[in-house]
Symmetry: C2
């Protein structure tokens, strides 16, 4: 590790000397303790401002035996450029980062691909942070359950699951899937494909919303129209290409993400078909890119930034013992 030194700014001891009190009193004044005289407190606060004093958060966290760091782990093979490139993750990250900063907490970004998240428990990601935010469940629901029983608090973005012992935050995937499908049904489409990996809990719920909408319109779901399209862009294109080559007939598709929808549009165009004339597409997430694509992509909106904030607030609640 490198030899890094930083010129130290004014210290609490120095401020105490200036104020003619001890560190203890300054510390109490700064944390607005009721056990310090109001006048003393005001004087110290004024002095602190005047001398641009700021508590050294590192020392504070160290003293408090905490790290002041929250780790963020993006599931779904984060190393793959495709996934990191998905704007969904970036917007989520933005919301998390903003909220964490407001609470004076640092963000530690997990960067490695996570084949088995149980291994994380030995890593810096866990050892070096006060809590961990998982974005997505992948197919590791039981591992998440196991981890949640350890001492380190976690929160997870994803779907509700049976016997779920971890704190979860997530959108209403059933309704989302329902709305997307319903939109296509009302456009008169009847051969509606569902693109996505239903082994992922969130996608499974959207699929059930999809089936619910079909049922309401008297359309019988066709197993052959449930296509396991992966999130990763190149794989998505391969998968959709295969579908088109098979001449399976369909006139619309509900996609599991906007990036997947954009992949679908590009692939369909390459096959000489038009969107939405020949095949109508609905995305999911409402990323910025989708809003400005051509033609404008119809999508199911998730307020991703806000979701990021909720994840942080939930984690803080646990850390503060409010469950």
């Amino acid at each position: 590790m490198s030899q890094i030194k930083t010129k130290a700014p004014i210290t609490m001891q120095e401020l105490a000397d200036i104020a003619g009190v001890t560190r203890g009193t300054v510390s109490r004044a700064l944390s607005d303790s009721p056990r310090v005289n109001e006048k003393t407190k005001a004087r110290i606060l004024a002095l602190a401002k005047k001398h641009k004093y700021r508590v050294n958060q590192k020392a504070r966290n160290f003293r408090l035996r905490r790290s002041g760091v929250v780790s963020v782990v993006f599931m779904l093979d984060i190393k793959s450029e495709q996934h990191m490139s998905d704007p969904f993750f970036l917007e989520m990250l933005g919301g998390i980062a903003d909220c964490l900063a407001e609470h004076d907490l640092d963000l530690f970004l997990a960067h490695a691909p996570i084949a088995n998240i149980l291994e994380l428990q030995e890593s810096r990601i866990f050892l070096n942070s006060d809590g961990v935010i998982f974005v997505g469940q992948g197919e590791q629901h039981s591992q998440l359950n196991a981890i949640s029983r350890a001492e380190k608090p976690i929160v997870v973005w994803g779907a509700p699951m049976p016997r779920q012992s971890y704190c979860r935050v997530g959108g209403d995937n059933i309704t989302g899937g329902y709305l997307a499908t319903n939109h296509l049904l009302e456009l008169g489409r009847r051969r509606i494909a569902f693109f996505g990996n239903v082994n992922l809990p969130e996608i499974a719920l959207r699929y059930s919303g999809y089936k619910k909408a079909l049922k309401e319109h008297g359309v019988k779901p066709d197993r052959h129209l449930q296509i396991e399209v992966p999130f990763e862009m190149q794989h998505a294109r391969d998968s959709i290409e295969e579908l088109l080559a098979s001449h399976t007939s369909f006139d619309a598709a509900v996609c599991s993400s906007d990036v997947m929808a954009l992949s679908a549009i590009a692939t369909i165009n390459e096959f000489g078909l038009r969107v939405p004339d020949d095949i109508a597409i609905v995305g999911y997430d409402d990323i910025g890119l989708a809003r400005y694509s051509s033609p404008t992509l119809t999508t199911v909106r998730q307020n991703i930034r806000w979701a990021g904030r909720v994840l942080v607030e939930s984690l803080l609640s646990i850390l503060n013992g409010q469950n």
Copy 2:
């Protein structure tokens, strides 16, 4: 701030007790100091492994009077979702994060929009980190110069500038602009537009590469074909729309980013024109999204992840006093 506590793992004192030595010796053994007996060292290392001991980086950094944190600031109005969504930033972030992790350093992500970066000097971004990486120069070259004269080391991704007192890492923008333009010229295009804000140093260099290529092919640059297209997607589309509506004739465009190129393609399609038949487009960056768009986007490749690593290594060199 919240009351966060973490169950402490085995401490250096405990390991010292087990080994029957003092903390000092353990510390030296772990840092591979030559001043400790090889046998003792081996014994301590084995014991450390056995008991899964890991040095508490927080305490270490605290003792070493450093934060162990590097801040990353993305210029260009990071708050705007459009910019955060630009895959260029994400890939750069990935490279930076990986390299930082290998050096046991944390990544602190600046999230606020940066109107004037001089204000950063009072903020957590500076106060709480050992160094700062700026991705992009914006139009704040002189502010960067000013900041670099402060005690906190910085490195900047961008273009070389006259009287540049900060450490810079960047691509060869002149050659990049030249290659992009040359490609179009060899396709027989002669009315080639340049899309980008030439007030940004990097873009200005690409523009000069563009002019150089034109000159070599005996094409006289047309001022009206230098269009100040912003990076931000919606603004890019507005700007290109305006150009198309003005009936300025052009048969190709060199774009300043792949996202800009995608915006251009979408806008051109909306005007009933075809790419590349009517107007050929070249992007810049080589983001994953471009690779899989339809039709595949021609672009100038920057190895963004690798660039991120170089930024980190450069910063570490400065921190280690190697300039």
